[in-house]
């Protein structure tokens, strides 16, 4: 029988998008719907004296203008801390700024009108009297004693700090033959989903029911948030996430504006729509990264890595995001350092600082690109210091493929990874010797090319160890309801959600194989708290590994139910039967009864079944990962670039990825997840940066000025796989969503530095802009002429 797991099935739900039949929240219009526009602070830090809404209130179409006093009263504040981050602080956050504004873009008033245009007309006339104060923009300065407070409700500017260390770090450095160091800066960037954040909150006072159409990854989380913060019974809150125009972690955080839309709908009893425009997105969507890291690595004379030590300063905005916090990324950075390598000692220090900028939080590949870039820059320097080839030094230090289970120096438990096999495969794909020869000859013509590689470990399939242990109400389990229709067709309602990754497709493939049907006969419903069971949904690479396993187990329970029924109907031992090609077959492979016939009998003629037999063709199953706290995956990437040393422009010529995400359910979708992820790694490496001036003003807050990677600048990406299934589940699948993003920037930086090696120049800051490249070249020139 054909197995559908492992097949490159196309996405059924892509057809709607290709026909222009997508259903995004931003497409939806409800009767009596009002449009919300927020009036925002133009300054990063200040005290509100007066908000004058009188002129604005008189504008045509305006229904209501809220300020903090009225709107905030409807909603309890939220606090972005986690219990397992000891000592962490974050002041409470409300929908609208009350006395203090904390970042440029902080909402201070909410205008509701019959159309977005009329709401914007009125917002222009809301008069703000805000006395500006000196903002805190530099995280390092913020942590010095006596620094002004970014958030006056906080004790100080230290949101969280942590140290992770083994016993013998200092001894390892003291006894090292080589110590290499790097100071690196990783710019702030943001998700820039093509569909901005969108919500329509619809409170029906007659029934007390709140329905929120919400472009989010995590509908169940928001059902809980809205229920608790607005004092509504959970059963009266329904969250529907239809098609979502990109998310990447950005659309699972709690934002002032969505909370505002719900509060306004509760007060007014009408649907309230808020769709961020692009300028608002830059000022309110979470930003990501913004790290300054000092790292060093100790090696023995043979080039064996002995130890690493890093300090990470994460700069997060004026509050910590809710409910996942803004400290989780730094926490992950210091734990993923050196992860691919055999290394016995390690010290990582993390400081998370408040500042008057947009809050940062989890975005695709949380912490991975930072840890990977620092580690791989150090490995590259170690290769130089020891005279080893970049492939050779990695071959010597990557954890051996037969050395599992392995516990990293930072305490992560790896079940089984395949670094060495990936390295060998990448070598075969890249042919580095040929590249080197070509580069040497091109250099004679003044053309500077370089390649770089970067190994990585990716965290996927997190259990409750991620957030649950810290007290956050973020589900670590997922649920599926699988049922057979009278026709024998299958339906699966599942808690993992779809933002285009292909969740629904892989769930159909998994369920199909359990029930012996083709995926075309399996329809899948996601994204609605009223019609699907509760679960964690799609984030941190849970869709395939946890969602897939949930579907598999639910499917097997339905299979068993069907076989029991079939056994009764065809007078056979259910254990001798199995499902194949839409029918029940016996040990000889002969079809005994079709699914359709079972469906017909169980639905329309249950009276013909033996007494007491369970004829319900619906099963529910919930699954939470057990065993390892996370399923780690691994891989390696290579990047080939050409640097124009006169202009600082870089052409990315080619990118390679070898990846091991365990059992591959759908290679077509896996490869495109990797490619998309790579581009989200290359974007921040070369282009993307939220630029702030010293006054805390975002100076490139539009799509004309914030440079996202576009088709002309991105390379073709060659992908290969090693498949090491996890033994923790039947399915064996791990996640793949973060893999591309995790190491693309690190490989690219090593490639740029390889190209610049003849000049002795080195980049240590992302994005690697033309200006930074020219500065690095000048610095190297000065160093040589001025010893």
């Amino acid at each position: 029988m054909t197995m559908h797991i492992g097949q490159a099935a196309r996405r059924e739900n892509a057809r709607r998008h290709l026909a222009g039949r997508g259903r995004f929240v931003s497409d939806l219009a409800l009767p009596r719907m009002l449009h919300a526009v927020f009036v925002r602070s133009p300054m990063a830090r200040g005290r509100i004296f007066e908000i004058d809404t009188s002129e604005a209130s008189a504008c045509p179409g305006v229904v209501r203008i809220f300020t903090a006093a009225e709107l905030n009263a409807r909603c309890t504040p939220w606090i972005g801390t986690l219990g397992h981050f000891a000592g962490m602080q974050s002041p409470p956050m409300n929908i609208l700024a009350e006395d203090e504004v904390l970042w440029t873009g902080h909402p201070v008033a909410m205008v509701l009108a019959r159309s977005r245009a009329e709401a914007e007309d009125a917002a222009e006339l809301v008069m703000l009297d805000i006395e500006d104060a000196e903002p805190v923009t530099d995280g390092a300065a913020a942590l010095r004693p006596g620094a002004p407070l970014a958030n006056p409700a906080a004790r100080d500017n230290l949101c969280y700090e942590a140290v992770l260390e083994t016993a013998d770090v200092d001894a390892a450095f003291a006894g090292a033959a080589h110590v290499v160091e790097a100071s690196m800066t990783f710019g702030r960037h943001t998700a820039v989903t093509l569909e901005p954040r969108a919500v329509i909150a619809d409170f029906d006072a007659s029934s007390g029911a709140l329905t929120v159409h919400h472009g989010t990854q995590t509908p169940y989380q928001f059902q809980d948030v809205y229920s608790r913060h607005f004092g509504l019974p959970e059963g009266k809150v329904r969250v529907i996430a239809p098609d979502v125009g990109g998310s990447f972690g950005m659309k699972l955080h709690v934002y002032n504006e969505e909370m505002g839309a719900v509060a306004a709908s509760l007060i007014l009893g009408r649907p309230v729509r808020y769709v961020a425009d692009r300028l608002e997105s830059f000022l309110s969507d979470i930003h990501a990264r913004d790290h300054i890291v000092q790292g060093r690595m100790a090696l023995d004379a043979e080039g064996t890595i002995l130890a690493m030590e890093v300090n990470d300063l994460t700069q997060v905005g004026a509050i910590s995001a809710y409910p996942r916090t803004s400290a989780a990324e730094g926490n992950q950075v210091i734990r993923l350092m050196g992860a691919p390598y055999r290394m016995s000692d390690y010290r990582g220090r993390l400081s998370v600082a408040f500042q008057n900028k947009v809050q940062t939080s989890q975005y695709r590949a949380v912490g991975h690109p930072i840890a990977c870039a620092v580690t791989e820059a150090l490995v590259e320097r170690a290769a130089e210091a020891t005279g080893l080839d970049p492939f050779e030094i990695r071959a010597r230090n990557l954890i051996a493929d037969d050395a599992y289970p392995h516990v990293s120096a930072t305490g992560y438990q790896f079940e089984k990874l395949s670094h060495q096999a990936c390295l060998a495969k990448l070598h075969e794909m890249m042919e580095p010797d040929a590249l080197r020869a070509e580069h040497a000859s091109l250099r004679k013509q003044g053309i500077y090319r370089g390649f770089g590689i970067a190994s990585f470990v990716e965290i996927t399939n997190p259990g409750a160890a991620f957030y649950g242990v810290g007290g956050a109400r973020i589900s670590a389990q997922d649920g599926a309801v699988v049922r057979m229709m009278p026709s024998g067709d299958i339906h699966c309602a599942i808690s993992v959600t779809e933002q285009g990754q292909g969740t629904e497709t892989i769930i159909a493939q998994v369920v199909a194989d359990q029930l012996g049907v083709t995926p075309e006969r399996v329809s899948v419903t996601t994204g609605d708290t009223a019609t699907t069971p509760s679960g964690g949904a799609t984030w941190a690479c849970r869709g395939a590994g946890i969602g897939g396993e949930t579907a598999l187990r639910a499917g097997r329970r339905l299979r068993d139910r069907i076989l029991t029924l079939a056994g009764a109907l065809v007078q056979a031992d259910p254990a001798s039967l199995r499902l194949e090609n839409g029918a029940v077959v016996d040990a000889t492979g002969a079809a005994r009864i079709t699914l359709e016939e079972i469906g017909r009998i169980a639905t329309y003629r249950p009276d013909t079944l033996p007494d007491g037999i369970d004829h319900s063709l619906t099963v529910a199953h919930h699954f939470a990962p057990t065993g390892y706290p996370f399923d780690f995956t691994n891989g390696i990437q290579g990047s080939l670039v050409e640097v124009d040393v006169e202009t600082g422009l870089v052409r990315i010529l080619k990118h390679w990825v070898v990846e091991d995400c365990g059992r591959i359910i759908n290679p077509l979708l896996v490869d495109e997840q990797i490619r998309g992820g790579v581009v989200q790694g290359l974007g921040p490496a070369f282009f993307e940066e939220c630029q702030y001036d010293a006054d805390g003003q975002l100076t490139n807050g539009s799509l004309a000025d914030y440079l996202v990677p576009m088709a002309c600048e991105m390379p073709d990406i060659e992908i290969a796989h090693i498949e090491t299934p996890t033994g923790d589940t039947i399915l064996g699948a791990k996640g793949v969503g973060e893999a591309g993003t995790a190491a693309a920037g690190a490989a690219a930086m090593n490639a740029v530095n390889d190209a610049l090696r003849p000049f002795g120049a080195r980049l240590t800051q992302t994005p690697m802009t033309p200006l930074r490249i020219l500065d690095a070249l000048d610095a190297a020139r000065e160093e040589r002429t001025d010893p």
Binding site: T104, D695, Q697, S702, D705
Partner: protein, 153 residues
Amino acid sequence: MKLDGEQFLNADPQTVWTALFDRDVLAGAIPGCESLDQLSATEFAAVVKLKIGPVSARFKGDVELSDIVPGQSCTLSGKGSGGIAGFAKGAAQVTLTPEAGGTRLCYDADVAVGGKLASLGNRLIGATAQKLTDAFFANLSDALTPPEEARSA
């Protein structure tokens, strides 16, 4: 953003100094000034309308002279709110030095914009600030140049 420059003015330092504190001269020198009300010897309330290419905004704010060393130096600062477009502020330290036939005016300015102007105007913020600063001191120079000389120049 830091801007500095200097301008030779065809008048003695005392005349220049007096002009800097003269409402009419200031109103004529501030680019796009629609109104300037004197609140005290050193404080003014201003309405300024600026149109630079595709951007047009009306700012309401104040202009102030401080750090006064009579006849020699002062700080000329201003800030204005342009409503939803954002705000602009700046301070210029101005020093006057007598020179043959007139006065050398040196300025050292720091200007900033906020809100939408900051997030959208980055590409041309430097050029705009320079243009407006140049225009202010050129207008001041014109005001101090006797009309007949201006005509013959």
